[in-house]
Symmetry: C2
Subunit: 897 residues, 2 copies
Amino acid sequence: MKTAVRRSKVANKAQTKKTKDARFVYFFGNGKAQGNQKMKSLLGGKGANLAEMTNLGIPVPPGFTITTEACDLFYQAGKKWPRGLEDQIKANLVKLEKAMGAKFGDRDNPLLVSVRSGAAASMPGMMDTVLNLGLNSEVVQGLIIKTENERFAWDAYRRFIQMFGNVVMNVEHHNFEHILEKKKEQLGVTDDTQLNANDLKDVVRQFKRMYEEETSQEFPSDPYEQLTKSIDAVFTSWNNPRALKYRQLNEIRGLLGTAVNVQSMVYGNMGDTSGTGVCFTRNPSTGENKFYGEFLVNAQGEDVVAGIRTPEPLSEMSKQWPEMYKQLVGIRNRLERHYRDMQDIEFTIQEGKLFLLQTRNGKRTAEAAVRTAVELVKEGLINQDEAIMRVDPRQLDQLLHPMFDPSQKKDVLVKGLPASPGAATGKVVFNAEDAEAWAAKGESVILVRIETSPEDIGGMHAAKGILTARGGMTSHAAVVARGMGKCCVAGAGDISIDYGTRQFAVGSVTVREGDWISLDGSLGHVHVGKLDTIEPELSSDFHKLMKWADKARKMNVRTNADSPHDSEVAIKFGAEGIGLCRTEHMFFEGDRIIAVREMILADDVAGREAALQKLLPIQRSDFEGIFKVMKGLPVTVRLLDPPLHEFLPHEEENQRAMAGVMKVSVEVIRRKVAALHEFNPMLGHRGCRLGITYPEIYKMQARAIMEAACNMKKKGIKVLPEIMVPLVGIDKEFRILKDDIVKTVEDVFEEKGIKVPYLIGTMIEIPRAALTAGRIAETAEFFSFGTNDLTQMALGFSRDDAGTFLGDYLEKGIYETDPFQSLDQEGVGLLVQLGVEKGRKVRSGLKVGICGEHGGDPASVEFCHRVGMNYVSCSPFRVPIARLAAAQAVVRERRKK
Amino acid sequence: MKTAVRRSKVANKAQTKKTKDARFVYFFGNGKAQGNQKMKSLLGGKGANLAEMTNLGIPVPPGFTITTEACDLFYQAGKKWPRGLEDQIKANLVKLEKAMGAKFGDRDNPLLVSVRSGAAASMPGMMDTVLNLGLNSEVVQGLIIKTENERFAWDAYRRFIQMFGNVVMNVEHHNFEHILEKKKEQLGVTDDTQLNANDLKDVVRQFKRMYEEETSQEFPSDPYEQLTKSIDAVFTSWNNPRALKYRQLNEIRGLLGTAVNVQSMVYGNMGDTSGTGVCFTRNPSTGENKFYGEFLVNAQGEDVVAGIRTPEPLSEMSKQWPEMYKQLVGIRNRLERHYRDMQDIEFTIQEGKLFLLQTRNGKRTAEAAVRTAVELVKEGLINQDEAIMRVDPRQLDQLLHPMFDPSQKKDVLVKGLPASPGAATGKVVFNAEDAEAWAAKGESVILVRIETSPEDIGGMHAAKGILTARGGMTSHAAVVARGMGKCCVAGAGDISIDYGTRQFAVGSVTVREGDWISLDGSLGHVHVGKLDTIEPELSSDFHKLMKWADKARKMNVRTNADSPHDSEVAIKFGAEGIGLCRTEHMFFEGDRIIAVREMILADDVAGREAALQKLLPIQRSDFEGIFKVMKGLPVTVRLLDPPLHEFLPHEEENQRAMAGVMKVSVEVIRRKVAALHEFNPMLGHRGCRLGITYPEIYKMQARAIMEAACNMKKKGIKVLPEIMVPLVGIDKEFRILKDDIVKTVEDVFEEKGIKVPYLIGTMIEIPRAALTAGRIAETAEFFSFGTNDLTQMALGFSRDDAGTFLGDYLEKGIYETDPFQSLDQEGVGLLVQLGVEKGRKVRSGLKVGICGEHGGDPASVEFCHRVGMNYVSCSPFRVPIARLAAAQAVVRERRKK
């Protein structure tokens, strides 16, 4: 909706402008540009930065940018150009011809251009590009004369036909590849470079014939027709399936469309004084402040990005072309100072002349993001607030996930490039569809490809890790995997993959589909089998950044932990308490389940109490362990929540086993299971409803918690238990349970002859509870929003069942994000806000937190900050994410003021 | 909570008073009383009216009333009397002795008293009573002297022992009955009256011995001890299980406790110039303005109420005792004028002297309530607003339910008294437990008892009708059944019931447990077998009252109807449109289900569309039928709502049958059923989610509705379709569906060359929809609150599963009423209110209604009025209830102003 409103506003504006001849085209060239860095939303990232670089005096091939508004109007008009666009393009073409001293379509001195997409948000490889545009059988002669390089000209021409055919007319790549391969076969050569001008001229001829067969059209010889069709193709590529999917996965919303950059061509493939490169002003993997990149001599940029040839590191360039390298370093320094951030640069050297084709803030690993942010502060380029904002909290995940236990023996099967850090272990699959299908069934998979392409994006997302045989650190696989925070080993050239038999070989070792392998994305190692992992080490830069974040944030960050081990991990990650300790997880361990089942099978209170007596010491010792780790930090213990049938076996076989253990007939168990069956367990007999109908259960649990607390205090360990009643819907329900608990607590205090501080509060996870939070706060001493259930009930869909339609809902943009991952702020958020406000109105100091999955989601954490929560609680590994997100919320708020 | 607060306030007040010697006892007698009619909550209904009658100069045996506050404090103090109560009772006893010229416990001129309960709300027979209190073996001699009637005195004594023993000491009735029966057997007599003084003296001796054995205590001879123990017993009876159950069933809440009335005894059993009677100032069954009642010569009141002897009609009294009857009629007239309502009177004649023992507003059938209200207006005693308020809308049910089709041949098996009108048919059961158990399994049952007692109340509630062999129109069975609006035939003396063999006989006909019988409560007829029923005829008084109600109310009343037949019934009951027409009910009929299943089994859109094509003409003709009946009244059609798996068979056998019909393998069906299985169907793939994932379904339905509408319009029939999208949770969801529907509607208009007015709106039944109603109202043209689902989601419990705990919740007072029957105004109501306000803020004229079960619940209807709804919609039979409730809401609002 917001998007729609914004769109129509902009559209109206554009419409108004249009009548006064709106500007759809912005020129850049010869040291002056009509656009600048700030016009990203209009010119796209690439266009804005080309303009900015031009204004900075950095050598950029001249060109012009067609705005995103034009793209928006193109769609609004049913894929027709807005009025005025054609005139403006023609005028700018003339300007460009003048700047270049060449003419479009001229057979003597031809101007060739590239046509590239470029949205406000980076979507690498998702949309279309056409290079060498402007060639036809006459112009190619002009190019030969101009470049004095016949082979180059024919090669450019065949590339152009191939890209145009594929991008504009959807002729499949393999049609072109096939002709090329056959040609090489005929000639007995293996490499494209071995084809001479005549060979390529014949390839062009064959390409054209094939093109005509495939499209039933002649290949357009009019350069202007080539241009308009290419612009249309780029516009259209904004909504191609992989672009849509990419925007959905990356939550890119609210954009008008893509801009189109029409730029004069420069060539890195004009011989040995030409080349092309992609580089980062710092190491995008580690953040090390060292110029980092790759280049290829005598190649076009696409060769680097597509991973077709494996390039050389930038350090080689300083040896081969020291002057050129020095110039590049100078530009690197200027760009970093200017943009105050690490840049991702594309350049081309045409016959010894350096051109910058792109600069943008570089994508980086979490490690690199943290290090860069901290070092930029040290370098005085940014301040601490900016550093906090420079790291995407979601990315931190990468730093926090386990790595392989270094102590275990592990033979390296093969080495590739350490393209994206982390450790992953899974079963081998060889294509994206299988990766998605296997993952959907709960399998861990590693996607193994010769190289990846944008079509593979869904499978890459589904896989635990990615292994490619070809491509460098800036290949598609590497860039995308780093963005996803997914472990990736790229360019492992020693593996030979056979898609047909679904296996790959390294020397004599064969790995088949379904076999386990393990990837170390930080080292680039591939191991056969399933390796154990250990906790990651965190860098001092990480700790520094987190210290800044902790200083900035106002909310506490707690963790959801059910065991001393989880609690310890969380403490290491900076947790300041336990926000949710689920007691039922303890019920499943070992022999405990027997006592639990005895309780469920009991017919009366006495029988239940007898079974609960057995559970009491076990639960008490669990809590003692947790209190010990938490050393006086608050520990919120949730009383029993799931319906009792969850503790009974539902399979015949297991029921028999249980009958044996319990010494009852299987019929008894079957009958109990049937009696406890529910149509909608989510909305059934669970949570505090169990406490109301079986008060003895909650009494036992309250006793276990408080006995543990008293025992620890006697040992000199500080404790701060918070007893939490789940699923409260109405004040009186909580009153009754609180009275019971208080009585138990007081009994324990008397028996132990000691008292400890404690609170009794409730989860707010039923809409009614949020709506009547004021009444509940009359007795509840704290609120913890259980946004998982609150989302299910407020939205009316169960997480287990939403799978059948939630995909459609996200695709149609009905919900912008999965509401189980990121809080639905408009709906569920309103309930949360009402709950906080109403609760605090009655009890001004009410402690309020959140303990749903959302507690570790940055957008949701920011929401929690805005509504004034005291803390968020999330899984241990998400604690640093929440800490950073909580800090960013404060910084963002400050900036608004 | 409200209750709790009120209680503690009153308690505090009482506490304060207590320290200043609070008044716990109010005297009445000799033409002057300390209390009056307005003090019901303090003195109970009986006490307040005894005081009022005393003040009116009507002969009432003197006595005093112990307040409900005293009862409350008694409970608060752990069943101990509050300070001051004892002194006040003693002082009032002295006053009473003075008034009566007799002395409590005196062997020469003894004062005997009754001790009766009496709460602010009538709870007939629920609490305890002790009569003839003050007797012991010495006092009985004084009574013999005083009454000159030895037999009477011993009979009074044995009755006292029996009541005291049972009420105060819980000695089972049958222990006493057994002694009495044995005595009669020994003497070869059948009737109590055939026992002479000596026989009764011996019975008293045996009663006392048995009492001592049963209680291990001597029977108390001290009258004051008898009194204090009886008062305690009455206090205690406030919370006996049947009283608790009665209050729960009748939604009696917020009372402090029961008052206790200690009153000097008068005797209707002192010979042939004595008697007792119970009467109504008008006929409580029909409302006819004719003095109506029953009396028994030489009997105590309990004999009438308990149905032990069948009394004579009051008309007989005018013949036997014309003077006494004239005096009674005079009192009747004074009481009606004074109370401006029909009164229920108890009187006793002791040796030619008339005493009133009770007056209260008489319970009446719906028919009587309507007629009385209308006639009281005619008589100028009340105005129309008061008449509207005089009829409990829930009672109207009685008038609206079917009666037996008079055209069918039906032999009367036996005749009894027409104790409570209506028609019922069911299987015979012989005790209350069976009635409850069978009904719980879904059986229709008729409870057949020799006579009923308060213990039977649960079974009476569960039964469709009640048949008794003994007792009159004011017997327990008759009074309770009328209160419940339940069909009852009482005192069918010709049936002989054998509880042992579980059968009853009428002459040679034997009816066994489980056999079907049918009761006509309006005629008192019993029929063997299952009879068909027809719609009831409504009286002109009913129509007059409803006209007044229609004039008063501001909300429209619509109906939930899925067929032309239901629509017709509803129109007859005054429905002003259809608020909910469920399209899925139509899907199950006849062969339609085959097409529905074809649609579900289809793998693609084309397959679904083919199946939907078959459904289109069927649905269209359904809608045509409904539009025809509704003649231009609004018809809200809800698009498909239930999950698709509801249309598939789940049993192996039925799956096989379906496979045969569909010509697919059973495996295909099994797989589909499995694929559609949901963990929480309530929160699953249903409602408009089906419209999002399968747009073709809603398109077909929209087409069927609008084609039907256009076809009808062409025939000159006015139509007003309102297309309703169910289960909307978020604005964009509705926008997308509305766009689809509008397109379809416009297509139909074009095809038909005609247009009809129509609206497209949504149900608000998901909490999120209510919370974001403003956004939804941007496009929705009406809202209909689906409070069934809204309740389930807002409260977090499923109606199907709540059975396991909702009982506990109601018992513990966590919810005061079943939230599925009467809207939870605090929680769900807040959502409704927010929804209405937010919706109207965006679209000021937004039409808002309700279509959940609550639309026919009077308290909920009043709520709907308060939040400003345009209409309520309910099942056809509840339409008059809603009309009256909507009018009462207005009157109540007026009175508040």
